[in-house]
């Protein structure tokens, strides 16, 4: 039958399931700490000493919530960096398309250039507001993701990249912005997951 320390470590590992590598590491580290504490108990090693060691350690849920809050901060930072990179590459790709189109003539669609431009501007505006006011929120990042995806799709339609031949640098820039929007999507989903986990761990009961 599992002892008090084993049960506590199992609970903490379960609460840290949002980061499996961290959960494995903490299982070993926390178990060593708790056995040290139980052995140092004035009454000597016993189930009661294990219980006291666990009580002094704090609630597994609260410790996991602190780890989750740090994970949110790190993930938010990575997501904002991904957004910045996506905006920069999208801008470069947009300029390359415009330069190419000025030589060969504009697109099949009247609407695409407008969406391309204004969706990009909207992403910049929402991104700036989000950075200053809602840095740890998923909403401005999700809006930026949507508007940038719209801008990229419109830009590709505008240039007719999928039906006509285009210079390699224009195609490479388009591939870069598609890859970065995929990366941004992964980061936004990851941030949402960490935020939900943190909220669950902080919920009483």
């Amino acid at each position: 039958m599992a002892g008090v320390i084993d049960r506590y470590v199992a609970t903490l590992t379960r609460d840290l399931d949002f980061d499996p590598a961290l959960a494995r590491r903490m299982a070993d580290e926390v178990a060593a700490h708790l056995w040290d504490a139980a052995e140092a108990d004035p009454a000597g090693p016993s189930p009661e000493a294990e219980q006291r060691a666990v009580a002094r350690f704090g609630l597994a849920r609260e410790i996991a919530a602190q780890f989750a809050a740090d994970a949110v901060n790190r993930q938010a930072k990575r997501t904002w960096i991904a957004l910045l990179a996506t905006v920069a590459v999208t801008f470069v790709a947009m300029r390359l398309r415009v330069m190419w189109l000025s030589d060969v003539g504009d697109s099949l669609s009247m609407l695409a250039p407008l969406i391309d431009r204004y969706a990009f501007i909207a992403a910049m505006a929402v991104g700036a507001i989000g950075w200053f006011a809602f840095r740890r929120s998923v909403l401005p990042l999700a809006i930026c993701l949507g508007t940038l995806a719209g801008s990229i799709a419109a830009g590709i339609v505008r240039a007719g990249l999928f039906v006509e031949g285009a210079p390699l640098h224009v195609l490479l820039a388009a591939a870069g912005e598609i890859a970065l929007i995929g990366l941004l999507l992964c980061h936004v989903v990851g941030l949402g997951r960490f935020l939900r986990r943190t909220a669950l761990l902080r919920r009483p009961g």
Binding site: M26, H33, F57, G58, I63, F67
Partner: protein
């Protein structure tokens, strides 16, 4: 209030040499004369955060007759951050002391 300074306190404990989590929490309790008796588990998110920020490094060690433990050590960046933390705390403490009427006007 302690939580806001926990990172600097952990760095200060590790200034005297590498240590594992249990030894760090014991050192904090001992240095503060038992005043900083925080839940022991609180130290691990702080250690992880400091390691992620490259202020600490860590390795697993297994003593000949003991259990496997992760030992933390201060990095060069960690030493620099500790020095900054000490200066900031010194300014803050002087300001509070002056505000409470226990010292000279600040800044002097």
């Amino acid at each position: 209030m302690l939580k806001g300074h926990l990172d600097a306190i952990v760095l200060a404990v590790l200034e005297s040499g590498p240590a594992h989590g249990y030894a760090i929490i014991e050192a904090i309790r001992s240095r503060s004369g038992g005043t900083f008796d925080l839940p022991e588990g609180t130290i691990y998110p702080a250690l992880h955060r400091l390691e992620q920020a490259a202020l600490l490094s860590s390795t697993w060690t297994t003593p000949p007759n003991g259990r496997r433990r992760r030992v933390y050590a201060l990095t060069r960046n960690g030493s620099a951050r500790l020095a900054e933390g000490r200066k900031a705390w010194s300014r803050f403490a002087k300001a509070v002391d002056s505000s409470l009427g226990g010292g000279r006007a600040w800044p002097a």
